[in-house]
Symmetry: C2
Subunit: 292 residues, 2 copies
């Protein structure tokens, strides 16, 4: 299976699980509707994919790993719902759909996010995922990635520094927590359930760290060089917001060089796995060369 | 130790843990300040107390159970921060202090709540709490109590039904999830780490269920019969809000009778434990007879 087919395959499996985990008729139905709206709005499902692919480096993929992958995407979705709120990024649209607080209400969006975060941990407890030791390791990885040292801390600083000058290191420190922590947890959780050792975990954490940063740099570059139609969102929106970006700090060429070098680093981390890692290699290239 | 001293003792141990778990100088410091403001604002710490006392019925209390108790109170505090938000109950004051969104900002309050919820699961993973099996059981109990079938679902319905007529059963169904679920999880987690069997868990769950409902009924009664100075909040505020309450549905005498009968039920569930349960008995009486 090539990368595109594999991404689609993972997405459809994870979406089927969302449909089972949060049935439309489960009370309170308005809460279920809001959670489903956010969960089933599409998206590349990069985090579930990283979890499953990391698992596959060590052990033949089993159905149960998709459940862990779904839990990770629930946490990602929780963060999108809360980030979109009027008090945070105040976004009305996501993937062409009204955001949860627009379609439902602000209180429903807050509670739907909370519910997804809590449920994700419940999902990781399911006995057939792995041993109790593996499940508790997965809970710890996910909780740490969400908390003050991870996503929430990064988002907090992102808001605090809005409109203020940032050094390259400060910008990187925000992204490493805001998006990098959950990407690293995704491969970490996959490897944990596959029974991988510390060396594998270290290599894949480095891979995830590098593609996460490269992804963000490419995002910033596309905001400068892309056109609105291809991006699906207004080009140049970062400039308008007086937001710190990699091209602003390092120049367009400097930023491009960083993204290239991070992608090379990510792929180097995979070299011990040879052919088995071909799709993770392709993913790193895809994230670098995408046009939107 | 009598009940009052035991409550104070648990509160001081749990608060010392908060101070260690979230040091004031941990980055982002504004996030830590918001979390500490909410965590260290006082309160009776009923949930940690229930966790520790339930543990003590089965095994001699060890230091580690206070860490689980702290995790539970972090989840309770998360729910208070989010419930106070402008989009939900829009409360400016809690325990005489400005609420988190008033003292800090709305975005900080949302993120501080999220961080506390995520961190609580991280805390439950700490190895010295118990076996991996016990810790994963505790995670599951806490996650279920927070999710759509617990706190968040109850809060969602509480908002949805505001200003609408409610039957006694509907009102009870909201409270059982909004406050009861976490009380039941508190004793459940204590018993899990103590190595209790299913019979103990069933008995204590029933005790927690009964005192939780009695607590809410007494709250509603005090809103009618208490005066503002004793309550520390405006008396009669439920009437003004056109809110469904037990005295409105069952009459003042009917509500009193229900609270009495639930307290008797709660104490009956403890009878197999004899003297060991004397403080849990005293707690049930205290919650019934309190004047604020």
């Amino acid at each position: 299976m090539n990368l595109a087919d594999a991404l689609t395959d993972t997405a459809s499996k994870v979406e089927a699980l969302f449909d089972t985990l949060i049935p439309a008729d489960r009370e309170p139905v308005e809460l279920s509707a809001a959670m489903r709206h956010a969960l089933l709005a599409g998206g590349k499902r990069i985090r579930p994919y990283l979890c499953v692919e990391a698992y596959s480096l060590i052990a033949p993929v089993s159905d149960s790993i998709y459940l862990a992958a779904a839990a990770i995407e629930m946490v990602h979705t929780f963060s999108l719902i809360h980030d979109d709120l009027p008090a945070l990024d105040n976004d009305d649209l996501r993937r062409g759909q009204p955001t949860v607080h627009v379609k439902f209400s602000e209180s429903t969006a807050i509670l739907a996010g909370d519910a997804l975060l809590a449920m994700a941990f419940d999902v990781l407890c399911q006995p057939h995922l792995g041993t109790a030791e593996q499940r508790i390791d997965a809970v710890r990885l996910l909780a740490t990635a969400c908390g003050p040292a991870g996503m929430v801390g990064g988002q907090m600083d992102d808001i605090a520094y809005e409109g203020k000058p940032l050094s390259g290191d400060q910008l990187k420190h925000i992204h490493v927590r805001k998006t990098g922590a959950l990407l690293e947890a995704s491969v970490g959780i996959g490897l944990t359930f596959a029974g991988a050792g510390p060396e594998d975990k270290e290599r894949l954490a480095h891979y995830a760290h590098c593609i996460g940063l490269a992804f963000q740099i490419v995002d910033d570059i596309l905001d400068v060089t892309g056109d609105t139609a291809t991006l699906g969102k207004p080009a140049g929106s970062d400039l308008g917001l007086d937001k710190a970006t990699y091209p602003k700090i390092f120049g367009l060429d400097g930023a491009r060089q960083m993204a290239l070098s991070l992608t090379a680093d990510a792929k180097a981390a995979l070299s011990p796995y040879g052919e088995k890692a071909s799709r993770l290699n392709a993913l790193a290239d895809y994230l670098l060369t995408r046009s939107h």
